[in-house]
Symmetry: D2
Subunit: 154 residues, 4 copies
């Protein structure tokens, strides 16, 4: 790609109409694009399993489930594995990492499993795995480290 094409690729905002449409999106809409369609199958203290049918809106330029959408699920579903342990503890992300192993396509059913590996006084670590619902094949696996705090004590 020449440099001008790279610039166009990143600044790909379309017509003025499209731009104002996107700019009119409500606060936190980015997250809503992921959670809409997410179904919780199992929830236990420290463990959450969800399913989702890959919607076209979450595809990337190669027509596969976006790696950034996978990262969102590692963040979001991972965090709920901590919430599921009860208490008033919340937290902020320290680190997220993801290994990508397979592609997921539009309308494919995927399963997301988050497991709390460690919940200490100040740090929690969660593992999150995305699998093809039909075959169990791993699409991606990530880990999410959070710094925990009780907001009232900050």
């Amino acid at each position: 790609m020449d440099l001008e094409s790279v610039k166009r690729y990143l600044e790909k905002g379309g017509s003025e109409n499209e731009s104002s449409f996107i700019d009119s999106m409500p606060p936190k809409f980015f997250e809503t694009l992921i959670t809409q369609g997410l179904h919780v199958d199992l929830i236990q203290p420290g463990r959450v399993i969800c399913t989702m049918k890959v919607p076209p809106r979450l595809l990337n330029a190669d027509n596969v489930f976006h790696g950034g959408a996978t990262a969102m699920l590692v963040d979001l579903v991972g965090t709920t594995a901590i919430y599921s342990l009860g208490g008033s503890v919340t937290g902020v992300s320290v680190e997220i990492n993801i290994s990508y192993m397979d592609a997921a396509y539009a309308d494919e059913e995927i399963e997301i499993e988050a497991k709390a590996l460690h919940v200490g006084k100040v740090v929690a670590v969660i593992s999150v795995e995305l699998r093809k619902k039909k075959t169990g094949k791993i699409i991606a696996q990530g880990r999410h480290s959070k710094y925990l705090y009780v907001p009232s004590k900050m």
Copy 2:
């Protein structure tokens, strides 16, 4: 949080109207939510710098720039650092990792810099840093490893 609240948090789809609105979003809309508003400041072979004013649609539940949006930028802007080297080589993500260091708020100007650390025959590694435009303070830093291939030779 009790288990029922965690379920509601993840399945937070609102009214039926809202659901059909979201389901009507065009293909790849998730990525468009990020690229709309992204401005390329500098582009050189192996290096890309963009700026963005944090839009409310990319905030998380705590009203700060979403960690998943950061991951999207590490993916997207990181990839263009490879494109900027020319050639017909594209690739797939092998691994993405991100350390989160500071919060960015609505309407704050952020700078995203991607640098190709290594472009070998089969693997490329890119570093991506998000900074506060005003102070230069690091918001997050990530690395993105890609497996490169020339599609016609697959």
Copy 3:
């Protein structure tokens, strides 16, 4: 710590006698310090479990099992999970990451489990977990991404 102490900490080579002793160590001795004492408990295609009694030589300045020794095990035992699948395929590390969750002390029995999550044509991903043998508590979990190649075809 003042800057001079930091320098001393890093260059801590002791007497001349000690230095020549260390410099006389045989090639690859670093790895031998880890593998000596490692016992393979189970080996199946794509899965390897080892145990080790933490030796004093692998402790860090705080008298706990060295984080770098954990990284060595993620590298080494992770690689054998690929070897255990047979074939002549070898590979080089693309990325290794480790989350540290608990300390292990001298003479403590630890268990190291490596599982191949994905073995594709060019990339393999392995998960490696270190646990306390007695309680099963996780000490650390890591992932290891390798680029695979058949040497004769390079």
Copy 4:
């Protein structure tokens, strides 16, 4: 490799003589194998640069600088970038990640640079890069996240 060979590879302890030699190594000897020969070239608050001539003892089975030795340097030299800021704060590793980009060979001069990216009240993040001294080519880059605490207040 067949399963029996994998087992032998991991349990490669040699003769009884060799085993007792290794078991007689002093406490923390693993770290000494790395620090011996490490030379501090520059030390500033938040930044440390060292050089090292790759000794045969730190090679792996393929006769290149061991990926686990790289991890040790990310841990050790990364930590000193925090020490170099003064104060009595120490810390424990939360996460270490490393991307491997090039090989280093016996007797090659390598440069290790650690930079504190962020030092907050509870979490610090350090970037560590290994380069070939002669060409500046990156061998590996990693990040090290630490949880900071003042021991007396624990």
